[in-house]
Symmetry: D2
Subunit: 242 residues, 4 copies
Amino acid sequence: MIRVTIWNEYRHEKEMPEVAAIYPEGIHNELKKALSKENDDFVIRAVAMDDPECGLPQSVLEDTDVLIWWGHAHHGDVPDALAEKIADRVRKGMGFIALHSSHLSKPFLKLMGTSGRLNWRDADRERLWTVAPGHPIAKGVPAYIEIPAEEMYGEPFGIPEPNRLVFIGWFAGGEVFRSGCCFLREAGRIFYFQPGHETNPTYKIPEIIKIIGNAVRWAYNPSADYSTDCTDCGHPAPLEKK
Amino acid sequence: MIRVTIWNEYRHEKEMPEVAAIYPEGIHNELKKALSKENDDFVIRAVAMDDPECGLPQSVLEDTDVLIWWGHAHHGDVPDALAEKIADRVRKGMGFIALHSSHLSKPFLKLMGTSGRLNWRDADRERLWTVAPGHPIAKGVPAYIEIPAEEMYGEPFGIPEPNRLVFIGWFAGGEVFRSGCCFLREAGRIFYFQPGHETNPTYKIPEIIKIIGNAVRWAYNPSADYSTDCTDCGHPAPLEKK
Amino acid sequence: MIRVTIWNEYRHEKEMPEVAAIYPEGIHNELKKALSKENDDFVIRAVAMDDPECGLPQSVLEDTDVLIWWGHAHHGDVPDALAEKIADRVRKGMGFIALHSSHLSKPFLKLMGTSGRLNWRDADRERLWTVAPGHPIAKGVPAYIEIPAEEMYGEPFGIPEPNRLVFIGWFAGGEVFRSGCCFLREAGRIFYFQPGHETNPTYKIPEIIKIIGNAVRWAYNPSADYSTDCTDCGHPAPLEKK
Amino acid sequence: MIRVTIWNEYRHEKEMPEVAAIYPEGIHNELKKALSKENDDFVIRAVAMDDPECGLPQSVLEDTDVLIWWGHAHHGDVPDALAEKIADRVRKGMGFIALHSSHLSKPFLKLMGTSGRLNWRDADRERLWTVAPGHPIAKGVPAYIEIPAEEMYGEPFGIPEPNRLVFIGWFAGGEVFRSGCCFLREAGRIFYFQPGHETNPTYKIPEIIKIIGNAVRWAYNPSADYSTDCTDCGHPAPLEKK
């Protein structure tokens, strides 16, 4: 059983009819439904930025093994203290999956240490290539996936060298992007995944859902120990001289 | 010509006689003198936390190719905005060398994305082993260096996997530590180096100075382009569809 | 169910009474017994160099998910063709665990691309430190393990930078060693683990067995696809121009 | 002064008129001329497979800081012993640049430990994207380079995760490729660079020559120590117990 929390900014869906038309209940609930169908052992909770305590009260965070994050235009409204609490929990072992425009979300940037910047333009045809075929996140995923229209994200992408690069995106207009990247931060595993612009029905593509489900399994760390206090560097040394 | 700025907290030296006895003019000036002697092509500036603008006004930062940092008990007194400015400049290509207790300094943690935590206890005999003999930072450095007394820093060390691990410390009391670690963050190169507690005369050991000088050369990036704006993710795409 | 094959040179045990006294049935059978006791879901086979076809006929190799290797003085007696077949299978997803002196075994060197060289001397007291506490291979493993006597292996160790460094060894005589290292090679996962000299009863220490068992689980890749032909680079491109 | 040796299979040029039309004196001499023009401090030697001792007698190898390699249809004609000698020298610090179809050359595969396999088809329009703008190999290189026609190389590419990925290729027909990859092997630095099929005049594009020149500088290791004997693992330990 893996406890998954899907966090969504959930404002585009309420403000833009063309987004509501695709995801009437919000991206978080769409993902919850789709992931539930394929993964019996996930216990999934969907929360939104405008829920109390930004959707992530302590009790929810502590009940989460893997946190999926979709943010875009309102990264600044996530309190710094919450972002730091999330990052801390990731370092202790919680998985974190940053979707699409979450490349500039506070928790992701805190964990990366880089700018997260990239190039972008309007939607284009994308082909998502599997670069690491034997990787758990690519399990059951074909050599490439066609996405009829997806916002173009292009290199250079301001990330540290991924621990493992699993997918590279090709765009018909002439760009490439490191679209699926694994990172490790102490006991935590982080996956960035590019597809998923709010005006494209990308999360309705079965292979995309398969990848996100695989990423949840990969990011889940049953050895996580959330009791250690990462902010205290002054542990007494465990050894005596002999 | 490499423009080096050495930043020091410079409070222990003024408050603790046993530190002043070792470094009467401060660790920053000690390092400046020692590095200058061995490196004709370094232009070195030594600054301190209690200098105006925390020692790093915009003009100084912009005149720096490689920033060496020694902080300890007062990390919190570095303004967040300054720490972010430093991290940004590193991402654009400025080298950054974090010495000893700077593992918990704001700029270092911002660049790592991890907790920086470690174990520690009082001084012990250390042997610093060269793990990557052909690496530029190990140039001219013997198989190991004896440090008669150095504060013990022990694993686990809360860092991302180093891009390259150059030195491992062995302590007589029974601990080990990843003492010399290279990290890359976009155009920037970062080196963490463990030796250098304020009550031990470690920066008077010639091989330690050689390593820090080598690290400056390694971290210096002549391809750095500080004009790009890392905080703006909305670059127009450079391509037209063809 | 994970199909594990333990390969052992199995000559010291027959030639040296002091080794036979510790491992009368050979290191491979000792490991088989110890791993079986703790891991119900492992199906373990123990084979030796002097078995027919060097212990690894095609049928056995094809029936193996994770191969554990212990070799020492007779690396040269493993046929090149077998070593290449093993390396190929690892690239397609078979796990490989190289124990102790297998740092110079043919399959390990073929997979690393480096010299494997290291420094060594006679047995000393070792403390094995957990550097990556949240890593699956460190699951349930304490901060450090005391090994009363183990052959000293010291840096520099001729390996590529590990994908993840999990353990560092400390030796009372003054050396350090990267004792537990993870590597990835296409779909394959490789773990090198230093303890286990034939004249020391190291494989009787429960924590050492726990680590090897954890390493088997980590190295097991259920996404492995052994049907692809890695020696053929001329796959027809899967795409048509559109 | 950097001593560069360019090794070329040099058979296509003699057997295929369409190749001879592009590179009448061979790819090695073309590269020599182009690199010399831009790099005053390179001392360049161009050799071919059918020269005595496969173009690389001991004296030439020992006089080489960086070896550039172009092989294609006749990898098997390079003696194993020579390939191993080259790989050994790389581990001790010689730079190695594998061009285009050298992804299956013996020295490259020995250093990687992987299959080197990839997908391919006939020439297509390629755009080579700079993924790591601040990297020394990208110095002075624009955001992307247009190559009017280049043999398509596509993912998955059977390499270990690069230490640093500098370029990704985009092909008009729909594929992507990790076209510029850095690897480290002990004291040696290796760069794989995809463009350069024999029937396309790619080595006449100034930016391609700039990249290869940059790669030579990056791969050059002035700390290399070729006197150490990598095949001997039995170094006496440098320490006494204290």
